[in-house]
């Protein structure tokens, strides 16, 4: 999968889980400080990424991701 496809899918998932306007989900947005994700939503994001990309991520590394672009890079490493 091309990186821009990963990026689009990640943004779609983030907007969906955090109930945000997709335009708010910019590359350098921090999940907690900018997008307002709480701990439970962080878990949900990891689960949603796994389902969307049909991958199984390393739990501690996945939960350590802070920004949208970090998520794209991390997910891409599984594809």
């Amino acid at each position: 999968m091309e990186k821009h496809e990963v990026q689009e899918k990640v943004k779609k998932v983030v907007a969906n889980v955090l109930k945000l306007d997709p335009d708010e989900v910019v590359d350098d947005a921090n999940f907690i400080f900018d997008l307002g994700a709480d701990s439970m939503q962080s878990l949900e994001l990891v689960a949603a990424f796994e389902e969307e990309f049909d991958i199984e991520m390393d739990e501690d590394k996945a939960l350590a991701i802070q920004t949208v672009s970090d998520a794209v890079t991390f997910i891409a490493s599984y594809l």
Partner: protein
């Protein structure tokens, strides 16, 4: 003690010192008797006095001669070197040696009393049906059996009969004030038995109770306490306007700051300040510190109540008949509300207002939040929060019981057959719910709860971490304890892989089903003749915890690997150890990540008032320190650095590397 009648000259001297007696013949003394030590005292009825030839030092009163001054005694005995002064009425008490009674309005035994023993309190179900008779030797485990096993007729009858016998044995129309007791500035003390070393200072009213202190761990009762119908065990402190009615207070408990409780039992190391408790079964380490917190008709242990925590136990229908069970380690957030009946799994967190009844006992380590009027479960979420790890480390260190006789048996392991057993049950449920759910579903429902579909599989993943750590940790411990020349196979040969049986958490004590049944059988049989025999039977079951939990582990090995533990292959053994290593590291890293949030910019809010970003950071660091220097973080980082080494050492020892 050899008493004698007063001599004529002694009576004359006492009269000159302002003393009177209903009949001087009824006042008997012990040699050497010094009349100087009895001044301005009125004696009524039979009085026996010990020797007064020492001094005693009392806080805020300095050192004084022992003896009796400015007091009225009716039907009392006074032991050697006690000090009694300014006691307006002392009736039917035996005061033991070196006790101090100073400035008391009235202390009396008004008739035959059992001093609070046998008082029935309606714990858990405020409407009755689970009445708990309190008595001096009650433990959390016996209370659990009495409250929860009401359906077990022979057990209930036997326990109630033994307790009744005990209560009869302590009945008396005279009270005792134990040796070295200090009672100062108290109001009314009526029908209260006072154990050795007890300190009472400024209590307003104590009525129908026992302060069962021991010399090594005395009871302390402080300012403005009002307590009726109670038992207080050793090492407990109750102070500052506490109101108690029909309450049991176990060992090492702290109640203060105007806390009020009715029909409640507090077991070892519980704490209650400011708030209110009604029909509460407070298992060991139940802690409530805040105003507006009502704990009602619930059973808790290793619990921490957020401010404003509240529950309802009736819906204005058939009365206050509902109950709630929070398994060990659960917490409730500020202003959380639950509508009983509900159950909450071990080490779970409840936040928000819940107006549905839910059953979450099979989901330990979860978050239960209120979302749009629904109770939402996030399974396993609390497994990797920093609070859970901190709590599990702090409890053993905070056992403040100093009495060599400890009534409540407490097992502290975070991962144990009960909790991991529930984790495994939770995993089965999550698996089933996951299989049945459709991708377009946002939520699935389960026993009054909703769970986000996406979190079903992630919950499973996180629970697997706990199971892998539990399984591996025990294998590592077994390998580390091999005797010289002994093989792991030999060590495992004594552990048959039987079907793992259910475990119970008896208010702090973990016990297998069969062990509990043996314990109950031992209690029911005729050779158990006293409440202390019951304690012995419970202690025997508690002592079997390590052996029984190993058997449970062996059963899980059999179940997971389909071989007897002794037949684990080298590859399987290596996998268990490697899995343990990677999962402990994973869990610790997740906990560290959670701890890091306590230091991130979001946590800096409110610091460095009126300053710039630099001041804000400096203020935060000055007050909170840094992540790297945090004691808990350092401990976990150190543990991480040792995990690999520990696994390698065991692999080498087992010649698997």
């Amino acid at each position: 003690m050899a008493y004698r009648n007063l001599q004529h000259t002694e009576i004359e001297k006492l009269k000159k010192q302002g003393c009177t007696a209903e009949t001087w013949e009824s006042v008997r003394v012990t040699d050497p008797f010094d009349p100087e030590r009895i001044q301005h005292v009125r004696f009524f009825g039979n009085i026996s006095l010990g020797i007064f030839n020492e001094h005693v030092t009392v806080k805020e009163r300095g050192t004084q001669q022992t003896g009796i001054y400015h007091s009225t005694l009716r039907e009392c005995t006074v032991g050697d070197n006690a000090l009694i002064q300014n006691v307006q009425n002392l009736y039917r008490y035996d005061i033991q040696h070196h006790a101090v009674l100073d400035n008391i309005r009235s202390m009396s035994v008004t008739g035959l009393t059992s001093f609070g023993n046998g008082v029935e309190i309606e714990v858990l179900n405020e409407g009755g049906g689970r009445e708990l008779p309190i008595y001096n030797h009650l433990s959390a485990q016996i209370a659990y059996m009495l409250v929860h096993f009401r359906y077990h007729d022979s057990l209930t009858k036997k326990l109630l009969s033994l307790i009744e016998t005990y209560c009869e044995s302590v009945k008396s129309d005279r009270g005792t004030v134990g040796s070295h007791v200090k009672i100062t500035d108290a109001g009314i003390i009526r029908n209260v038995e006072i154990g050795p070393g007890t300190e009472i200072s400024g209590a307003d009213l104590l009525e129908e109770g026992t302060l069962a202190g021991s010399p090594e761990d005395p009871v302390r009762i402080g300012q403005s306490v009002i307590a009726k119908h109670f038992i207080v065990q050793s090492g407990s402190h109750i102070s500052d306007g506490v109101l108690l009615d029909k309450c049991f207070v176990g060992q090492g408990v702290r109640l203060g700051k105007q806390f009020s409780a009715e029909g409640s039992a507090f077991f070892a190391n519980s704490e209650g300040y400011h708030g209110e408790a009604v029909s509460l079964f407070a298992g060991p380490y139940t802690v409530t510190h805040h105003k507006s917190t009502l704990l009602i008709a619930g059973m808790f242990s290793f619990y921490n109540a957020g401010s404003g925590t509240n529950q309802s136990n009736h819906m204005y229908k058939l009365g206050p008949i509902h109950q709630g069970i929070l398994e060990r380690g659960a917490k409730t957030g500020s202003l959380s509300y639950m509508l009983w009946p509900c159950t909450v799994g071990a080490f779970s967190v409840v936040t928000g207002k819940h107006t549905t009844n839910f059953e979450a006992a099979d989901f330990p380590f979860s978050y239960i939040t209120a979302e749009d009027g629904k109770s939402q479960l996030t399974p396993a979420m609390n497994l990797f929060t920093v609070g859970t790890r901190r709590d599990s480390e702090k409890w053993p260190a905070r056992d403040r019981r100093k009495d060599s006789r400890k009534y409540d048996r407490i097992h502290f392991d975070l991962f144990n057959p009960r909790t991991i057993g529930n984790v495994l049950k939770g995993m089965e449920i999550l698996e089933e719910l996951s299989e049945k759910s459709r991708r377009e579903q946002e939520y699935v429902s389960y026993k009054g709860l909703v769970i986000k579909r996406l979190l079903l599989r992630s919950g499973l993943k996180y629970y697997r971490i706990a199971v892998a750590i539990y399984i591996g940790e025990i294998l590592l411990k077994l390998a580390e304890s091999l005797a010289p020349g002994q093989t792991l196979k030999e060590k495992l040969a004594i552990l048959p892989g039987r079907e793992p049986e259910p475990w119970f958490d008896l208010a702090g004590m973990l016990v297998s089903k069969s062990r509990l049944e043996s314990c109950i059988n031992a209690i029911v049989q005729s050779s158990t003749n006293s409440v202390d025999d019951v304690l012995n039977a419970v202690n025997e079951a508690a002592d079997a915890y390590n052996d029984d939990s190993l058997l449970w582990w062996a059963g899980q090995i059999r179940k997971q690997f389909n071989v007897e533990p002794k037949d684990l292959s080298d590859e399987q053994t290596r996998d268990i150890i490697e899995n343990w290593k990677s999962n402990v590291l994973k869990l610790n890293n997740m906990i560290l990540k959670d701890a890091e949030k306590e230091f991130d910019p979001g946590s800096h809010m409110g610091y460095g008032l009126d300053g710039d970003e630099d001041i804000r950071n400096k203020d935060f660091t000055a007050v909170r320190g840094t992540y790297d220097d945090n004691k808990f973080v350092k401990g976990l980082v150190k543990e991480n650095s040792e995990i690999e080494q520990r696994a390698d050492n065991v692999l080498k020892r087992l010649k698997l590397q």
